[in-house]
Symmetry: C2
Subunit: 262 residues, 2 copies
């Protein structure tokens, strides 16, 4: 089996399911991050979270005893705001929450109502309602540019599955026939290339670590990195066999710390 | 051109776009209904409305000076509740509003939470929120039977398009891969056969009148009725040519009263 600790200089780490579940720390994950840093590895966190800004994630990491900076984090909110700069500073209508709005405004975009927008940004929102979906529908029918922060259809909530950004993408597609021009989050190459740029490593020197085969492993393979699947999140001993039909990771470990226990 | 007034004994009339727009009367529509009744035609109203009970529609009709009874109305809420009786009196979780709940309970079904249901009934809800979509998702993943009141993806609101029941069908399909076992409203044959039973006429003796080619004209053709398209709703002189590519009605008139002005 591949020894990623010896062969890799850089690590792209997923957050939810690797470091924490929601606001609760995964001990083996946090211990693993500390070890990677002690051993001089370059680390960047890449998360499909569409409701939190980098600032919010940093606060959460601090509560686990991890001291990271904005430079170490690429979250789908921030990555989407950055990606859009390719097209200028835009007037944006978004379905998203405060965390996304914070990153869009930090990047220089302006948040406007649906009928004044030149760009629609779709992202999950726990305050979603009929009025917001009506505005998103009308925006989607008229706007030039339409992007989504991430493609996730379902997330594992603490008491069962909850809808992800994909729910809104699907609802809009069903109503209008229109899909986003770009989806920024994993497994999209957009967010992975940004992570490789931050690490300043060649893809073959980098391991992508995550808990979802169809998100993290697929994203890692797409850009030519090594891939590590951890069983501390949504993939478990029970559903592993089915998931491996999608794509095979180079390494499977119980949690991030498991890299040292093999 | 076909003379439906001479050749038809029964009329299946759409409501929104034929008799009224929301709570506002369409004069030529109401006048047309009165004339049909004066001339001794059998009339039944068939509506894809998924938020109102028959009682609610009767009140609206009264405000237009039309005196109709529950026997004369088949609305998707009622038709769905009736259709489900095929499978017994069920424990139902629904995304729908009070009007649908009223009809489900009148038919003998019991409204329960998502984790106690044996049947999911999807219908539009102007109070839809993230919590309701989460419950619908979980119910859809587990329940034996799943039906939808109507397939409409977008409705014309007073100030622009608004999401219909189809938005929820699409969102659930995107998240779970599951489509309803049955969709009751037009153009489904389920609601049309129910209307023909009420009229007690042969299909060829009946004219289906509506404002939407893909809903009303398609539904009428499916069950072998004559079809009349009125231009008092969503189909207009401007979009007519495109709509006729879907299906051709036997007769096109400005409004229902136009049947006497040809």
């Amino acid at each position: 089996m591949l020894d990623v600790l010896n062969s890799c200089k850089g690590f792209i780490l997923d957050v939810d399911g690797v470091i924490c579940r929601g606001s609760r720390e995964i001990e083996g994950g946090v211990r693993g991050v500390k070890r990677l840093i002690e051993e001089g590895k370059k680390v960047v966190f890449v998360s499909n979270n569409s409701t939190r800004s980098r600032r919010m994630l940093i606060e959460r990491f601090r509560s686990f005893g991890l001291d990271v900076s904005e430079e170490d984090i690429i979250v789908a909110t921030y990555a989407t705001a950055s990606y859009l700069l390719k097209f200028g500073r835009l007037r944006v209508f978004t379905t998203g929450e405060e965390g996304l709005i914070e990153e869009l405004e930090l990047a220089g975009h302006t948040i406007v109502d649906y009928d004044e927008a030149e760009c629609l940004v779709v992202a999950s929102n726990r305050k979603l309602d009929y009025d917001l979906m009506t505005k998103a529908l009308r925006c989607c029918l008229n706007v030039d540019r339409y992007v989504a922060t991430n493609p996730d259809r379902i997330f594992p909530g603490w008491d069962g599955p909850i809808p992800g950004t994909g729910m809104i993408i699907g609802a809009l597609y069903w109503m209008t026939g229109r899909m986003p021009d770009a989806v920024v989050g994993k497994p999209s190459e957009i967010i992975m290339r940004e992570a490789l740029r931050k690490l300043n490593c060649k893809p073959e020197e980098v391991a992508v670590v995550g808990d979802q085969v169809e998100v993290d492993v697929v994203a890692g393979k797409k850009v030519g990195c090594k891939t590590v699947l951890v069983l501390s999140g949504v993939t478990t001993e029970e559903n592993l066999k089915d998931k491996l039909k999608i794509e095979k990771p180079d390494v499977i470990v119980k949690d991030l710390d498991g890299l040292w226990r093999r």
